[in-house]
């Protein structure tokens, strides 16, 4: 399946892209992270420590063990700092 993958803040800067379409066989977010991490050093750098990251599936916050079934948009970003 293909998913839109979005990156924000320093995750975007490390990977060098705001978004991309990813062909994946991953069933969970954690599996998708594992697939991305081995692509290139810039992905490995961005996903080095997932405890420093948050994920949203179709624009709702989710956990890294969440299923990707039916998901169209996955976003990775650091903890939010609004307000």
């Amino acid at each position: 399946m293909t998913v839109d993958v979005l990156y924000f803040a320093w995750v975007r800067e490390r990977i060098g892209l705001p978004r991309e379409i990813v062909e994946t066989g991953a069933e969970t977010v954690a599996e998708l992270v594992d697939e991305l991490r081995v692509r290139e050093p810039r992905y490995a750098a961005a996903f080095e420590d997932v405890s420093a990251l948050r994920v949203a599936l179709d624009q709702e916050l989710a956990d890294f063990d969440a299923s990707l079934e039916g998901v169209r948009e996955v976003a990775f970003f650091p903890p939010m700092t609004g307000g």
Binding site: F8, W10, A56, E60, F77, P79, M80, T81, G82
Partner: protein, 147 residues
């Protein structure tokens, strides 16, 4: 009644507060908070605020609905800016109204705490000696526990 605005443009906090207050039927208390970009360490040129279009409005509306389910509000207003803001610029505003003061104060604080760590905004400080992303602090996450 709730209004959420995510925008690059500046806003007039006084005018916003006046029109918000006038629209509140039955409110005995209106509370507002305005956040301003400040130069904490000295040498700050600007704050660059990034957000997640699409998710931002949805996340803030969800936070406002949550507040409305907990306190009897006659209305709530959230304005949050993104883009490049200079020190002294207004960055965001929250207003709440209720029949009673305590509900308005508590709902405003609740909104502030949740906006800080549940609305998808990220701040980058661009200073004289370089640029860096503002890190979330544990205290922000802890602040949610009181609700």
């Amino acid at each position: 009644m709730a209004e959420v605005r995510v925008q690059t443009e500046s806003f007039d906090a006084g005018a916003e507060l006046n029109s918000f207050s006038e629209a509140q039927d039955g409110a005995g208390a209106v509370v507002s908070f305005t956040g301003v970009v400040r130069d904490v360490a000295g040498g700050l040129n600007a704050m660059e605020i990034e957000h997640y279009p699409g998710m931002t409005e949805k996340a803030i509306s969800g936070i406002v609905e949550h507040a409305k389910s907990r306190w009897p509000l006659t209305g709530a207003l959230v304005i949050h800016r993104y883009g490049r803001l200079e020190p002294g610029a207004q960055i965001m505003m929250v207003a709440t109204a209720s029949a009673h003061r305590l509900a308005a104060f508590e709902a405003a604080e609740f909104l502030m705490d949740y906006l800080k760590s549940r609305a998808p905004f990220w701040k980058k400080e661009v200073a004289r000696d370089g640029a860096g992303w503002v890190a979330a602090v544990e205290a922000d996450e802890d602040a949610l526990k009181r609700w």
